[in-house]
């Protein structure tokens, strides 16, 4: 191990003499991580959507006795999109040019159908072919769902008024017609009065049947409120917003930023470092009994691990301090640092071994760094694609260290019970490090020809 330690110390000394290179290697992937974060964060955020009102919606709509302020309703539901009122022609044009992602059209007769409660009115959604169109379809479905929820509440309230009217009686109007309703309570009293006015057993029997019906109907209708609400919303979702990390400090972004940075730094450095040994013409001198090829590969793998450990801890501490300053909760960045350190070391070794393998294939250091860059960028981006969405991304990612590093970092920093995930990710990282190092050891013989 002395040879490994000496070569590692030499590489670290050489690296220290190239601060600009090191800074570029750190800042570039951090920038990429930030951009990926921004894309993920804002891809679905506030797309511009045309709002075409062909029906001339009034400022307020009276539906089922409830007054709806149209603008307030739109404000309430459009937090997922910026609704811009415009004419149908303008919406058509902007949809073609991509200035709007979609257009929501309120057709003629929409308000009257809504008021009539006889036929469901139709909202029309027109989308373009942009990448956000399908996403916005989902958002519009959510928007219509929320509108329906609001209207449903109004309809339930209106229906419950009719139920109350049936129970208590009183004056009412329906479709413009005014009428008096006796109500079940009054009907019960009237039946009691009728019972005292006759001795006819047949009439008394019929009065008793009617009185029973009135009692049961009252009991049933008095339960209608809760039942109606429950059947209208069999499952209700309550969203509790609690204090948590902002997206910038979010667990996932932090884990991705760490993994992305380390993947670039370690793969490029390890690839460049092993190929540089050949460029410097020293491999022949080293293998003359001074260093075994296995030790040469191990030194470069450990270079990746050492850099990952140092750099990763610095980044984690910066994130932690930023979280403290911003006063956000939701993670355990300090108590989990030792566990994170283990993950950083393992991830660095796996990235380093992969880099050594690429460096051995490329042989020349500039080519090695270029190959490492060209290979690492798509692999890291594939690792960001959810495997549930694109299965192929999952199959490719699993044989590279990136996703396992992300899993480790996420679990280590933020999971309440991280041990299982950390264990699985550790085994993957160890296995990949061993596999790539073995492949590199077999290939490094090429350096001696």
């Amino acid at each position: 191990m002395t040879a490994v330690r000496l070569l590692l110390a030499k590489d670290l000394r050489v690296l220290r003499r190239s601060p600009a290179l090191l800074a570029a290697l750190v800042l570039y992937p951090l920038l990429v991580a930030l951009l990926v974060g921004l894309v993920v964060r804002f891809a679905s955020d506030q797309p511009r959507v045309a709002f075409v009102d062909l029906d001339g919606l009034p400022q307020a709509l009276n539906i089922a006795g409830e007054r709806f302020d149209v603008e307030t309703v739109i404000e309430e539901v459009n937090d997922k999109a910026e609704l811009v009122p415009m004419s149908e022609e303008e919406a058509e044009r902007q949809l073609e040019t991509g200035e709007v992602t979609a257009a929501i059209v309120v057709p003629r007769g929409f308000a009257s159908k809504l008021r009539g409660m006889v036929e469901s009115p139709v909202l029309v959604l027109r989308t373009g072919r942009g990448g956000l169109a399908s996403r916005f379809e989902l958002q519009t479905e959510a928007l219509v769902f929320r509108l329906n929820r609001l209207l449903q509440e109004a309809y339930i309230e209106a229906n419950l008024k009719y139920v109350t009217l049936l129970v208590e009686g009183g004056e009412a109007d329906f479709l413009g017609e005014e009428f008096d309703v006796v109500g079940l309570e009054e009907a019960g009293r009237l039946l009691e009065q009728l019972r005292g006015r006759t001795d006819d057993p047949e009439a008394l029997g019929e009065i008793e049947e009617l009185a029973t019906f009135v009692r049961e109907a009252r009991l049933a209708l008095e339960q209608t409120d809760e039942t109606l609400r429950a059947t209208a919303n069999p499952i209700e979702l309550r969203t509790d917003r609690e204090a948590g990390r902002t997206w910038l400090l979010g667990a996932q972004l932090q884990a991705y930023a760490l993994a992305l940075t380390l993947s670039f730094v370690c793969v490029l450095l390890a690839a460049g470092a092993i190929a540089a040994e050949r460029d410097e013409n020293v491999v022949g001198r080293l293998v003359r009994g001074l260093v075994r090829l296995r030790e040469l590969v191990t030194a470069k793998v450990l270079l990746g691990a050492t850099i990952a450990l140092a750099l990763g801890l610095v980044l984690a501490i910066v994130f932690g301090v930023a979280a403290e300053i911003a006063g956000v909760d939701g993670g355990q960045p300090w108590s989990r640092l030792p566990l994170l350190a283990l993950g950083l070391f393992l991830a660095g070794a796996a990235f380093g071994a992969f880099g050594v393998f690429l460096g051995v294939l490329a042989r020349e250091s500039r080519a090695a760094v270029l190959v490492a860059f060209l290979v690492t960028l798509p692999l890291a981006l594939i690792g960001v694609v959810p495997s549930e969405s694109v299965a192929a991304a999952g199959w490719i990612s699993i044989v590279f260290p990136f996703v396992h590093a992300v899993d480790f970092f996420e679990s280590a920093l933020f999971a309440l019970d991280p041990w299982r995930e950390v264990g699985v990710a550790s085994l993957w990282l160890l296995g990949l490090a061993a596999a790539f190092a073995t492949a590199a050891r077999m290939g490094v013989r090429r350096f001696l020809t």
Partner: protein, 223 residues
Amino acid sequence: MPGVTALLSARGIARSFGRHPALEPTTLDVRGGEVLGLVGPNGAGKSTLVSILAGALAPDAGSVVLGEPRPRVGWVPQRPAQYGRLTPRENLELFARLEGVPDPAKAAARLVEIVELPDDGRLTSELSLGNQQRLNLGVALLGDPNVLLLDEPTSSLDPRQRRRFWELARAVRDRGGAVVFVTQNLEELQRFADRVVVLLDGRVVFDASAEEYARSPEADVFA
């Protein structure tokens, strides 16, 4: 020199690169107290032979046998083999540590003086090719070798540096060691070689004393 024990022996060593044979099966003894000049046209297999003798390249066939006691072999490859982003002193110290030299810092300081290397903190990559070649020699001398294998060692040295270089090489021979050097410089061959081996297309076609070489037709071929 019959009767003198070989410090280093090649026994039927051969090596190919791809389908191209660089060195046909070759047998050669390197004996103590001699300076052996290795000549031949480009591609004759001289560097391959020296690299195999140095242990930097594995032969496809045959073996290299080390004498008893085991000789300390120093190797100066044709192209400098050291780290450009380290200073000469750092290079010497690193290789001294890898060689297991007892006091690496002291050994490095000694060789900086012996091979007259600049010691002003400049990186090796910033030095002239001549200075890099001297460092190349310095690294080879770290283990106090009694066999010195040199592959065109003086090609980038000025006359003064060349003289100094040969003083150091001859000192190895004078201590009972051996020097094997590859050269294309016939004047250097005539001045310093005790024995000459000619390689042609990977085969040894001449192996005799320098005097015999001077009288032989092979000397005319490479003149």
